[in-house]
């Protein structure tokens, strides 16, 4: 079985700064994987590289959307929108919603890659286009229901409470029908109750939609409870990988986090 | 949400209605037109080019006030309707439609060639005679497209023709360099000059070039003139460039004849170029300052407005006199009799005794050749 995502020897520089150095990792179908590391370790940079926002200096990124498929596809250097179309969707650490659009419209934007109406079709609005439009609204609303924020459907995105905004980011990413969902600190700024709810949502997404998940998170309790596998980054290098238990007891990881007033059992 | 869209709709509706009322009242007020002869004055009365349009308005006012004081023309009072076109073709169309909707009988204007071209089609359609004091574009009359158009200023090509004829027939030069300042006016003139030289088949254009206006050093182009062994230079443009070019030519001890246009026939040119200006030829409007009507017009203007008249004042004064004369002689404002009167009846104006040729250009309005002698421009007698 092929991994859905296989990154090999990925490196990224910013001027002289080696933000990522020879990072390799793979994620298999239906896994929830976490990427952790101290601030500035390069986690977000890693996301940006594999989603095409940055072009890596070297390395390869393979995807294979169907696990039974034998050949894999190198997506390194492709444009972000192509990568999304191929089935990887992401959220942003610093929320990047379309602030002045409604919640529903935000999700409808996510449907863009899976729909087709062009300029002429939009103007003529024949039956096919009308049906497509209707389906976009229906699908988007259903996704909102799934993420539990359907009550806000017609509110402006910027008026939403913080937790709901994070959920909307997830909903919007889900609307692109990904096989792999990349979440950048989805629990940041949430209260404990909301965090638990989020954990359930992520599990549900995995189970019901068959979507694999790679997430960056600083909340260790959340990570340890949720994930099948963890990768640890520090100063752009992968310093450890393994199951949550193995990571918690890994001396290298503990050292990396030392001085950061850190407790795995928090 | 239907509610919201409706309130927006209402707002929209109210604004629309408001405009409707404004339009209605402005137009209702204006729909009275009968007894008096209405003369439309169209031109730039505001904006950058107002200084070209205002003198025409003033000229018309001076004459009309005087006539009205003596019970008008044919016992009809004259009414003046001024409309601003800011010298823009698209606005001139509005101006023209406004004037015809207010029932003007004749129009004095427009000021700029572009605006005039745009407006003429409209006047032509409703058969209104238009007489411009300042639109110099040759095609306005020469194309024959606008039989309703007349003007009291010479078209652009007349100067070029004069310069070329003077150079070829009187100065007998064979090799001419034509220069221009890349501006509308200068380049247009140079273009005509070049064509006239080519047509003459006697002389040839050895150099045709545009110089950068406002530059300090023109030695490159001066060098070219020297290398091409040009006997005369015809320059289309204004005096700042001309004075620099002539100075640099004379410094190189070139004796090449320098001929230019009324943009150069300016005392500032002599002041700046100094010694080098001696012998330079320039065309300029025929000197009419001894004409008694011109003297009267200028003194009237000074008396009423407290200052010297501005651009095209005498041309405008002549235009108004010409059109009023035509109305008076033909005893009507009818299109055919008016155009006929303009073409047959002589009228005394500040620019001399005028009538118009078949195309609508004033016969006798034109340019003379001047030469700098002992620091002043002196009219040359033998020049055509």
């Amino acid at each position: 079985m092929n991994p859905v995502l296989e990154v090999s020897k990925l490196s990224m520089n910013f001027g002289g700064l080696k933000a990522l150095e020879n990072i390799s990792l793979d994620i298999f179908q239906n896994e929830i994987v976490s990427l952790i590391g101290p601030n500035g370790a390069g986690k977000t940079t890693f996301f940006n590289c594999i989603t095409g926002i940055y072009t890596p200096v070297s390395g390869d990124i393979f995807i294979s959307s169907l696990p039974q498929k034998t050949e894999k596809e190198n997506i390194c250097g492709l444009k972000p929108n192509i990568i999304t179309k191929k089935g990887m969707a992401r959220t942003f650490q610093n929320i990047r919603l379309f602030q002045n659009m409604t919640v529903l419209e935000n999700v409808m934007i996510g449907r863009h890659v899976r729909t087709h109406a062009g300029i002429i079709a939009s103007v003529l609005k024949l039956k096919k286009t009308r049906n497509e439009e209707k389906k976009i609204v229906d699908d988007s609303y259903n996704i909102l229901k799934k993420t539990g924020i359907e009550n806000f459907a017609n509110e402006k995105a910027s008026t939403l409470p913080y937790g709901a905004q994070r959920k909307l980011e997830i909903a919007r990413a889900l609307a692109t029908e990904p096989f792999l969902l990349l979440l950048d600190e989805p629990a940041a700024g949430m209260n404990p109750a909301e965090t638990i709810e989020l954990g359930l949502l992520i599990k549900e997404i995995r189970e019901k939609e068959n979507i694999s998940i790679l997430l960056i998170e600083h909340d260790m309790k959340f990570v340890m409870n949720l994930c099948d596998k963890i990768f640890v980054l520090d100063y752009g290098k992968k310093i450890a990988s393994g199951t949550p238990d193995a990571i918690q007891n890994n001396p290298v990881v503990i050292k990396a986090y030392l001085g950061e007033d850190f407790d795995f059992d928090a | 949400m239907v509610k919201k869209i409706k309130s927006r709709f209402l707002l929209f509706f109210l604004i629309f209605a408001l405009f409707g009322f404004t339009v209605f009242f402005t137009s209702a007020k204006l729909s009275i037109a009968a007894e008096p002869i209405i003369i439309g004055i169209a031109g730039a009365h505001s904006g950058d080019l107002a200084s070209y349009g205002i003198p025409t308005l003033r000229a018309a006012k001076l004459i009309i006030d005087e006539k009205n004081a003596k019970c008008g023309i044919n016992n009809r009072k004259i009414k003046l309707l001024a409309e601003d076109d800011v010298c823009k073709p698209e606005i001139a169309v509005n101006t023209a439609t406004k004037l015809i909707s207010e029932g003007v009988h004749v129009v004095v204007g427009h000021i700029c060639s572009g605006a005039t071209k745009a407006a003429l089609g409209i006047y032509k359609d409703v058969k209104i005679v238009v007489i411009s004091p300042s639109a110099t574009n040759p095609a306005l009359t020469k194309s024959g497209n606008y039989p309703n158009f007349f003007r009291t200023i010479a078209p652009d090509d007349v100067q070029a023709k004069l310069e070329v004829d003077f150079a070829i027939n009187i100065l007998k030069v064979k090799k001419i360099a034509v220069l221009h300042d890349k501006g509308d006016y200068g380049k247009g003139l140079a273009e005509y000059a070049r064509n006239f030289i080519k047509e003459s088949k006697i002389a040839q254009v050895v150099l045709y070039e545009g110089v950068t206006p406002g530059a300090v050093d023109y030695s490159a182009v001066v060098q070219k003139i020297k290398r091409k062994k040009a006997e005369a230079v015809i320059f289309g443009g204004y005096h700042p460039e001309a004075s620099k070019i002539i100075t640099q030519m004379r410094k190189k001890r070139m004796k090449t004849i320098f001929i230019s246009d009324d943009g150069v026939k300016d005392d500032t040119f002599i002041k700046v170029a100094g010694e080098s200006a001696e012998g330079v030829y320039a065309t300029g409007p025929k000197n009419t300052s001894n004409n008694p009507i011109a003297l009267k017009a200028v003194s009237d203007h000074k008396r009423v407005y407290g200052e010297d008249p501005g651009a095209f004042f005498l041309n405008a004064y002549s235009a108004v006199l010409a059109i009023l004369n035509a109305i008076e002689k033909s005893c009507s404002t009818d299109y055919n009799s008016l155009t006929n009167a303009l073409k047959t009846e002589f009228v005394a104006t500040p620019l001399g005794i005028l009538k118009f040729d078949d195309k609508g250009d004033a016969i006798g309005v034109g340019f003379s050749m001047y030469q700098v002698k002992n620091g002043v421009f002196v009219k040359i007698k033998q020049a055509l």
């Binding site: 926002i53 972000p80 969707a89 990047r96 379309f98 602030q99 002045n100 659009m101 409604t102 409808m108 996510g110 449907r111 863009h112 890659v113 087709h116 109406a117 062009g118 939009s122 103007v123 497509e132 209707k134 609204v137 988007s140 459907a153 017609n154 919007r172 692109t176 | 509610k3 919201k4 409706k6 309130s7 927006r8 709709f9 209402l10 929209f12 509706f13 604004i15 629309f16 405009f19 409707g20 137009s27 505001s46 409309e83 601003d84 800011v86 073709p89 169309v93 439609t97 909707s101 060639s113 572009g114 071209k117 089609g121 359609d125 574009n137 095609a139 194309s143 497209n145 247009g188 200052e307």
Partner: protein
């Protein structure tokens, strides 16, 4: 009632204004008599006026901060109730249609003519609104496409005798083509840089038209452009003006229809998203390049269309009609009317184009009045006269059913 500090503030303001206006309003050089007039009276008037106006200014600012919605809801509830009435709704539509149709027959040729101009600017405004209001691409060279449309009709007619109605689609297509042409180099640019490059593009087109004499007849322009023909019948100037008016009305209806549909479509949403956040937009799978080019092309197409009408209406065009000022006016009218809102743009165009015509008497102060209006607008109502509202989708639980 007034605090001392406020009075001091106002005194400072009035002193500042007196200082600022001193050179223009107080000193007058009389060139005829070579003397200087000192018009101290003006200074005193300015001082007093600015003193009192500064109070008003502050009062209005405060009013704006304390949310004026309380008052508004009361005042407008009457309107809302009236408007809710469907009878009123349909009857007002009928009324407007009647007004539109009756207009050229009731009013003079002049009124019809300037109304046609205003309608032309509605089309231009709606076109630019796609680029600026929806896609958020600040385009300061929009007039270039207008010029392309106008010259395409003028030149094609001159050389090949293409008629007005044939030129309409050609002008639109050429406009779109030039839109794409401009789009390519500026794809990577944003905000200020984009504005500067588009500004340059507008000037380039104008300079080409001005200098390439063999192609465009240079600054002397093209005259005698025919008006649209009416089944080969020769129309008088009055009839032609009415005819142009109705052609323009139809074009405006077409534009509103198309722009409205586009706005509520997959492409339209992508444009709006692009304006909000480019990175997120791409991450959502929207092709930035394609979407931007679409916006430039569709926006420019309307300018091309309007350009053809302009050429026919003016019957003479030269490059001087397509200066940066024209772009600025079109941009201003959509900002004033309400960026992104169709009603807003229409209102803005009417105000911006018709008002100056009716204000001819104050022509010298026209630009001053407009400047002041724009400043006040941006301070007190930055969204424009009519604010863009997001679309409202009504969803029943069985599935989505949308409504406005």
């Amino acid at each position: 009632m007034f605090k001392l500090s406020e009075i001091i503030k106002s005194i400072a303001v009035s002193a500042w204004f007196m200082f600022l206006t001193f050179p223009i309003l107080v000193i007058k050089v009389n060139t005829y008599e070579k003397t200087i007039d000192w018009r101290w009276k003006n200074m005193i008037l300015i001082g007093i006026a600015s003193f009192f106006l500064s109070f008003l200014w502050r009062y209005m600012l405060k009013q704006k901060e304390y949310g004026s919605d309380k008052k508004k809801s009361k005042a407008s509830s009457f309107f809302k109730n009236t408007v809710k009435n469907p009878k009123f709704y349909t009857s007002s539509i009928v009324l407007i249609l009647c007004l539109i149709i009756a207009f050229p027959f009731v009013f003079s040729i002049y009124q019809t003519n300037i109304m046609t101009s205003a309608l032309m600017y509605v089309v231009l405004g709606l076109g630019l609104n796609i680029v600026v209001g929806l896609a958020g691409l600040l385009d300061l060279g929009y007039v270039a496409f207008f010029a392309v449309g106008a010259y395409s009709y003028a030149l094609l007619n001159h050389h090949f005798g293409i008629t007005f109605f044939m030129a309409l689609p050609i002008g639109a297509l050429l406009g779109a083509f030039f839109g794409i042409l401009l789009g390519f180099p500026v794809l990577r640019l944003k905000g200020d840089y984009l504005a500067i490059v588009t500004l340059g593009f507008g000037e380039i087109i104008r300079l080409i038209l001005e200098n390439w004499n063999d192609f465009s007849f240079g600054p002397s322009g093209i005259a005698n452009i025919p008006k649209p023909s009416f089944f080969g019948i020769n129309l008088s100037i009055y009839e032609t003006t009415t005819y142009m008016y109705f052609i323009m009305i139809l074009l405006v209806f077409l534009t509103v229809f198309v722009v409205n549909r586009l706005e509520d479509s997959r492409i339209g949403r992508a444009w709006i998203a692009l304006k909000e956040d480019e990175v997120a937009c791409q991450a959502m799978g929207i092709d930035k390049t394609k979407t931007k080019l679409y916006a430039f092309a569709t926006g420019a197409a309307w300018a091309g269309l309007a350009g053809v009408v302009f050429a026919a209406k003016t019957s003479f065009i030269n490059p001087a009609s397509f200066t940066f000022l024209e772009s600025a006016i079109i941009l201003s009218l959509i900002v004033l009317g309400g960026m992104g809102s169709i009603f807003g743009v229409i209102t803005g165009a009417f105000i911006f184009i018709l008002l100056p015509e009716y204000l001819r008497a104050f022509s010298d102060y026209r630009m001053l009045v407009f400047g002041a209006a724009m400043v006040l607008m941006m301070v007190f109502r930055p969204q424009g006269i009519i604010k863009k509202r997001r679309r409202f989708y009504k969803i029943s639980d069985s599935g989505g059913k949308k409504q406005r």
